[in-house]
Subunit: 187 residues, 4 copies
Amino acid sequence: MTRSSPGRPPNSVGRAAALTVARDLVRTVGYERVTLAEIAERAGVGRQTLYRWWPSKQAIVAACVLEDVLPVQPMVADSSGDLRADLRAWMADSAAALAGDDSSALFRGLLAAAASDAHAADALEARLSRPIRQAITAAFAAAGHPGDPAVTADILIGALLNAIVTRDPAARDRLIGVVDLVAAPPL
Amino acid sequence: MTRSSPGRPPNSVGRAAALTVARDLVRTVGYERVTLAEIAERAGVGRQTLYRWWPSKQAIVAACVLEDVLPVQPMVADSSGDLRADLRAWMADSAAALAGDDSSALFRGLLAAAASDAHAADALEARLSRPIRQAITAAFAAAGHPGDPAVTADILIGALLNAIVTRDPAARDRLIGVVDLVAAPPL
Amino acid sequence: MTRSSPGRPPNSVGRAAALTVARDLVRTVGYERVTLAEIAERAGVGRQTLYRWWPSKQAIVAACVLEDVLPVQPMVADSSGDLRADLRAWMADSAAALAGDDSSALFRGLLAAAASDAHAADALEARLSRPIRQAITAAFAAAGHPGDPAVTADILIGALLNAIVTRDPAARDRLIGVVDLVAAPPL
Amino acid sequence: MTRSSPGRPPNSVGRAAALTVARDLVRTVGYERVTLAEIAERAGVGRQTLYRWWPSKQAIVAACVLEDVLPVQPMVADSSGDLRADLRAWMADSAAALAGDDSSALFRGLLAAAASDAHAADALEARLSRPIRQAITAAFAAAGHPGDPAVTADILIGALLNAIVTRDPAARDRLIGVVDLVAAPPL
DNA sequence: CCCTAAACGAGACGGTACGTCTCGTCTTTAT
DNA sequence: ATAAAGACGAGACGTACCGTCTCGTTTAGGG
């Protein structure tokens, strides 16, 4: 017996569509020029409905980047047993994911949201930084590495942020050097 | 011989006042809620005058943080001869300068401006990242250190950015650990 | 069956309030010093809403004078059978309606709008001149008068304009003489 | 004995140039869009100098139309002895002077200035209406006409105003009919 | 021949209104 | 009950212009 409420059912399709549209807009026009009216129109969703799902524009942008479509894999994934190689691989993936100018713009939008809204910053921490930190912690433990994984996580995340906010391709190219330096000698 | 133009001279007092006021506002209310009208009023300056000096709100915020009042010392300054100690000292200073919640808000405003405006990002690069990179380059050269100073600079700057955008005090406390890790082994 | 659209209905109360407020402002401070911001505030209406209803300030002023509150009765009204007496009565009414300095200011605002904006001029023609011309045409036809009613209408309207733009009370007093001269001999 | 002050003499060339330029601008772009900055630049005159000569923008526009370049001859001029023919000739001249769309725009600018500024209205009265009234008064006296010349003057001036503010060519064509009606029967 | 002083051009200023944009809310009808 | 539609109040944005003020400059007498 499917117990169903009376009334019109929630538009779960529209929710996903809104996030996809928002993501495309952040990519193409940049965070500041994203408009809720345009998200609603393109997603075929009422504008008020967006406010039923998220409390503000910043929240939508943060959600659309983090919800499930983050271009950075949060995990070291398949541990080859070689910690250094794992980190290098992850960083290479992440840098590649950010190589496209549009993905960079997307992540920059998240950064803008986080810089001006504490809730978005919390989301960034919970959905990006913390998983990375935990993954590195696990990897360190598995490898018996003595260092502080949180510090290493800060470095890697910070280097990514720096490469994104600076739109400098050279900084992006140096990311792999960051891993080599951080993970270098004793690992 | 000061050769001067005809016409009323620019109101350099007002210009400085505008920057100071803007800085205070970014600190207290956050970048998004800063209003040019309020900057103008508090600084005793016409609103149009702000647009005569800077092309946009982002530019004003970037300028007010970077112009001359950057809370981060861009230089390793007095080289003690010990590269590692110098970096530690600089990072400690920078972390302290960002310790106050208001300074953190100030820098976060710059970050928001840079994330949503390429000109502000350029200013950030020119006024913050590049000096730091050059200073570290010089310090590495003086100490005969073989590493890539740009990578080290990326790490330090990135760790700062991360500590700022994340409002997490723990991340701030880990900054000194970042230096220890980066400058650790061979120095 | 009132077929109605979805969505919040237009704020017709506010619309009427805006016109009333605009009219009062034109009267008291004069067309040039009327501010849309003040109209909006006093009418309890958003400023943008004014632009949703009218395309410009001139249009609002033209509308507020003409919409339904024109101080000049556009018709000869009750035909007494005596064309000359009807015209005299109408002109006396119109002159009286303009006797107050504030009504004069109101109409002068319309004139300023019409002089600097073709749309306002069209509105003036459609809402004031044409009805008067038509009324006189009808009156001439009913009375079997052979003259060109358009010429007479031009004269009466023009004399009113002259009395208004010149702020001279003597010109106002001569208006009845205008009717006597125009309608004089053969009528 | 030319008593002359020391100091640089007023730039009377620039003054005339400013009026000419202002007149051209009123003609081409309309009163509302005339800019003092543009008048000053085109006339090769400092902006402040305009304010040394006239108290406001309205005053400049009024001056530039009335100063010496009024397109309407204020006089019946050569009295042929036939009052009706004189009036017809004058009205025909005036209508012709206003026939060009640019002259019409010029006069409409004066009207806009007069409608929103009492000083401009005074200038209009003193420089246009009063001379016409006086000329008609003189003509009536010379012809021994019994009517009130002020009323006739009001009618003729008003009809001109009406033809100008209404941009309707038909109203312009009816001007001669106005004269015929006013001057018709007993003259 | 300098000197004083009036008028000047240039141009930045404080202020204010404009018309546009977007936000987040509110109110209606439709599902 | 929830949605789409859509108008709304609020308020910041960036532009334009006004009328003022402050300079350095020109151009004439007057000493």
